[in-house]
Amino acid sequence: MIIQNTLVDIAYLIGAVSFVWGLRLLGSPDTARKGNTYAAFGMGLGILAVLLDPRIDGGGNYAWIGGGMVVGSLIGWLSAKKIQMTAMPQMVSIFNGLGGACAAILSIVELTTQDLDTGGMAISLFALLIGAIAFTGSMLAYLKLDGKLKDSQVTWPKHSIINQVLLLITIGFFIYLIVVGHTTGLLIGFLVLSLFYGWSFVAPIGGADMPVVISLLNSFTGISAAAAGLIYGSNFMLVGGILVGASGTILTVLMCQAMNRSLFNVLIGGFAASGGAAGADGDQVAKSTNAIDSAILLNYSSSVMFVPGYGLAVAQAQKALKELDDLLESNGVDVKYAIHPVAGRMPGHMNVLLAEADVPYPKLLDLDEANAAIPSTDVVVIVGANDVVNPAAIDDPSSSIYGMPVLNVWEAKHVIVMKRSMSTGYAGIQNQLFFHERTKMFFGDAKDSIQKLTAEVKNL
């Protein structure tokens, strides 16, 4: 018996270490997949251990367990497999909500069926609260992300004040329950209040901020799992939960940083701040990107075309560009340059620059060659060009450049535009390309941006 106990304990231990290691590997593109597998392995080991743990006495009830597991596994597996790539964040949100619900249910059962001391009760109530918030919050986040609910449909006037009041009430209730003790009625009231607070908490946060919210709610679920670990005396749950709680929190902060916002801003700012997308023209919004994401896009693609323009010359970024080219080539990416005949400010301007950077001539495509190659190009990176990639030349007869041949970059799979702002080029006309669905803007001085990009590609 003692041996089996110990084996179970060791299995838990290995499971916990697998969590740590898995999370660690998840942090780098090369090993992320392996990390996920490790974590899943750890989870499997933990489940096996708890099923075999001889120290748990009671009915066994393996049929119930088996039933629940089979149903849950099937649903989880199938939904994960058939979900579309773009809908994955929503899926994660649902999953997270279910985890929260699971914690809440356990707490309720615990609170209603077990005889707990004050500490145990406090912890159970805490798990209930947090789990319930995670549940409704995640569900609302899912609905918003999936476009099933609009921000405006779920907000009330003065929502943030309402939330603050709600929070106070909830905390008060929580303390009351601990100090005074609970009845089933009170418990249900507390559950409902928690569920409602979760919903209300997420309601005023802008749809674009949902990923941050999901990450935050995820760390909530982690904390509730840790709390449940305390209830059940399971170090494994405790460690797993705390890990998720800690890394989830850090991740939330990192995500906010990546969006150039503070967590506070996201949580309190509501919609107001969430409209701060990079560039907008009327109701059109240009999507912006950054060095790390662009780096991964470029590095894991098989063909890249640079489209240099006058901005390359202004930024004197030609050598930096060549360096990026070399790096990508050495990683097996096929790199070409598309030279538009009037790019720059004098005939052959781009040629002069690229020759200075020693770009071999065969890599330079002229207009016709480039337009032929673009549809099969994975990523077109426009470096400080504007007029020469303006679709108005093709589809807007009122444009002053209508009829000029341009590079049809929008036919590529992805377009990244490097420039400093949304301002116009030599011809002084707006460029619809920037709002194209496949286009992402990479704002900043071209040389700067390229160097950052290069650094990130090196880090991959």
Binding site: G58, S79, A80, M237, I292
Partner: protein, 104 residues
């Protein structure tokens, strides 16, 4: 106060473990590229499904006739399992794009 103090002194090892785990959680994540944010969140979410362990304990120790606990517990198991299995599977799918090309 003394109670809390006592609690701390009693569970010192646990507190050490908690704090070290938190540090480890921070440390392990602190330098993650933006593109990995979503997969990482997803993976962490799957791990948060450890709550399933609690559900299993709950059922295992319940009396076979305690239908309330068993029913709720089974629902909890199902929910937790969706979180775990779906979570890891979805993460894996997200990460498919990172299959390393062989450097030429």
């Amino acid at each position: 106060m003394t109670q809390i103090m006592q609690f701390i002194s009693d569970n010192l090892l646990l507190i050490y473990l908690l704090i070290f785990t938190v540090i480890l959680g921070f440390e392990v994540i602190s330098k993650v590229p933006t593109v990995l944010h979503t997969p990482l969140m997803s993976g962490a979410n799957a791990i948060s499904g450890v709550i399933i362990i609690g559900a299993i304990i709950l059922i295992r120790r319940s009396a076979p006739d305690d239908i309330f606990s068993l029913a709720l517990g089974t629902v909890a198991i199902a929910l937790g399992m969706i979180n775990v299995v779906g979570g890891f599977a979805v993460t894996d799918r997200m990460l498919e794009m990172f299959k390393k090309k062989k450097k030429s």
